[in-house]
Subunit: 151 residues, 2 copies
DNA sequence: CCTATACTTGTAATGGTTCTAAGTTAGAAA
DNA sequence: TTTCTAACTTAGAACCATTACAAGTATAGG
């Protein structure tokens, strides 16, 4: 697995793309930057709007194509919204999501907190599920559903 | 919270519907029965096909309407497929799902196993997430992603 | 029974996503 | 640097799951 870019300079992202066998284009750079600097998990259209505002000169089809390429190459993940449209996440590491029942929005749980929870799952029970069901668990995806206290 | 019907007789389901303030109709009974007796988590169209085969005399619009009514009243839940169409689940109790990476299919983890895992989550970390983020956790939704050993 | 209200249904509309086919470009090779 | 080709971009059409609509029908309470 390749390392995640914390820098979003042209050079850094180009390197990242090369490592993932993706051609580096103006449009892909713009989409990746817009996605990676977002704390929310934007839809394809939200990214398109944002880029159009910035006059990046990109088509909606390319936003979709790029997101598909990023997901396929492991630089992003596609999240089911539960609603109408898909959401995209530039964090591919295991991390938890917080879903606000009121708005439906998805937020990341800070990585350190999330990792502590994932590391403290009852491993014996997971093993038991695996052996009992003949299933090999690859990833445990957790979503904390609730609401912000200030509501 | 009302009790889940383990019997799917007309009388039992009618009682369930009355408790949930839903009118009892031939079509809703058919949809609920078809959903509740499924071990998979069918799409609206899968239910429609199944009912059409059985000459239940029901329209696709009604399948959608009924599923929406069931979800709104708490008798079913809507699951994001990750793919194109939504999946429905007559189990509203907390339970885990197994996602087969190969096929994308969703299966239930047997309730006893799932409950043991949920009961053994590190509660202190959950509390910490709540206080740290000012978020009140209502439900912990877990999906085990992997593949069946026989592949 | 009667009636009000909720439900059903065929069909049209919606909207996110994918497809197509024609131009353009990145990046490798010479 | 020049050339070449596979990969990428794009506008618009197509697709398809879901929702909206409007006209008929059935449920359940009084
Ligand atoms: Mn994120
Ligand atoms: Mn189920
Ligand atoms: Zn995330
Ligand atoms: Zn389930």
């Amino acid at each position: 697995m390749h390392q995640q870019a914390h820098e979003l300079t042209e050079a850094a992202v180009q390197t990242l793309f090369v490592q993932h066998h993706l051609r580096f284009t103006r449009q892909r750079y713009a989409v990746y930057r817009a996605l990676a600097c977002e704390d929310i998990h934007p839809t394809a259209d939200q990214l398109y709007q944002k880029l159009t505002d910035n006059k990046s000169g990109i088509s909606l089809a390319t936003v979709y194509n790029t997101l598909e390429a990023l997901v396929k190459s492991g630089l992003a993940q596609k999240l089911a919204d539960g609603g109408t449209s898909a959401r995209y996440d530039a964090s591919v590491d295991d991390h938890l999501h917080l879903r606000d029942r009121a708005t439906g929005s998805l937020m990341d749980v800070p990585v350190n907190l999330g990792k502590r929870l994932l590391d403290n799952l009852p491993d014996n029970i997971l093993k038991e599920i695996e052996s009992e069901l003949g299933f090999s668990i690859n990833r445990v995806q957790i979503e904390l559903v609730g609401e912000y206290a200030g509501n």
